[in-house]
Amino acid sequence: MRVLLIGGGHSAYFAANSIRGIDPDGKLIIIEFTSEKVEVLSKTFPFAEVVQQEIDGVESYIRSNASILDAVIAATESDSLNLRYCKTARENAVPLIIAILNNPMNEGIFAKEGVRHIINPYGIIPVELSEILGSATNIIYKTPSGSVMVASLRIEGEDELQKIRGKLRGSEDVSTLLVSSSGEIKSSIEEADARGRLYLMGSEEKLRKILGSFRGRRR
């Protein structure tokens, strides 16, 4: 895979390491604006080609190389630049365009510009906190296309256990895993105890329906 990563800050650092892990033989090109950072990045990521470009020069680079790029990842420290570069990549038919946001409030603006893959690096914080602090229901992961979801539900008492058993009966398309109050992992809801946490994987629509009936209960 040939990936163009734009930016040399925190997000780009994690992105570069991930790309290397996913595709060790792929070609990674990193674009940075300042010569000082280019020098540091070249040493940090010897497997990548690090290119210095001016802010306006990046768009020409994308246009010239669009036909040989598999993905463009915009990960600069400015969402304005990320939006510009995603737009140029889209106009030049780069197959995969990914934006790593600085401000999650820009998600809607990027989506309106046709950017389908938007990463909010801070999105994991509320998820992790909910799990650690014992939230009753928690959406742990959603695929970018929104079709598959992983969620958890804390079971509080026998009534709720019966209720969830009833909801899952006939729902073969929902996978479950249960962590009992003593920390044991059980694969069947029938083995569940009334104080465990249930993990569910299935279609977003279905899971939201199941979780919805537990919403609003006392914590």
């Binding site: 306006d56 420290e77 401000n103 820009n106």
Partner: protein
Amino acid sequence: MKVSVIFPTKNREHHVKRAVRTAFKAKGVEEVIVVDGGSRDRTLEIAEREGARVIVQSDLVYPGKGVAMRDGAYLARGDVLVYLDIDIRNMTPEFIEKLAEPVIRGEADFVKGCFERAAGRVTELVAKPLLRMFYPELARFKQPLSGEIAGRRSLFYMVEFERGWGVDVGLLIDFHKLGARMVERDIGYKDHDMKPLHALTDMAYEVAGAILRRAIRDQKTDPEWAERYLRGVRAIDLGLESGRGFA
């Protein structure tokens, strides 16, 4: 030459419609950009409806004027950028044209707007004395903190933006250092909301900081003295919780 007008905003739903419409009427204006600092009102929705390009500035928790200005410059496509406060009640297309004209005509790379009123307190008591001390060649500017500016877009890409209130004076010094041709243009009377006095302490601190950091960088002062001065400015407590004033 194409002109991009940039408005940094936050909770300005009552001003945004008029400002965007006025900007589009000015000669050469191809796009209007609204950079928002996390409004909780309908500022962004109205801006978009009026045809502006919108973005929320990249710093979610500590939005500052400088971050907004940087993000505006980075989103812009015009050859000339014009920055204006969005709350100018008597804004006309001529405001924008007066600022952009010297750049379009090739007479200047950067234009600082000034207006018919006495300069503000932070300008007179902080910015001007420090500029006279370290950058006397910039003392000719009547309102070095004015946020009404225009310049070649490429110029804005050659400097680091201060994050907060020091951005305007920071750009002035940095463009001067780059050898840009700079002029000041009178844009007439400006009717806008003024900051209360107690809000000026932070502003004064950031302006002083921006000038002193550059003075250290340009080897015009002793870093230890500058640090002591900055600590002193920060410690000033005006002791006034209300009152009206302007920068």
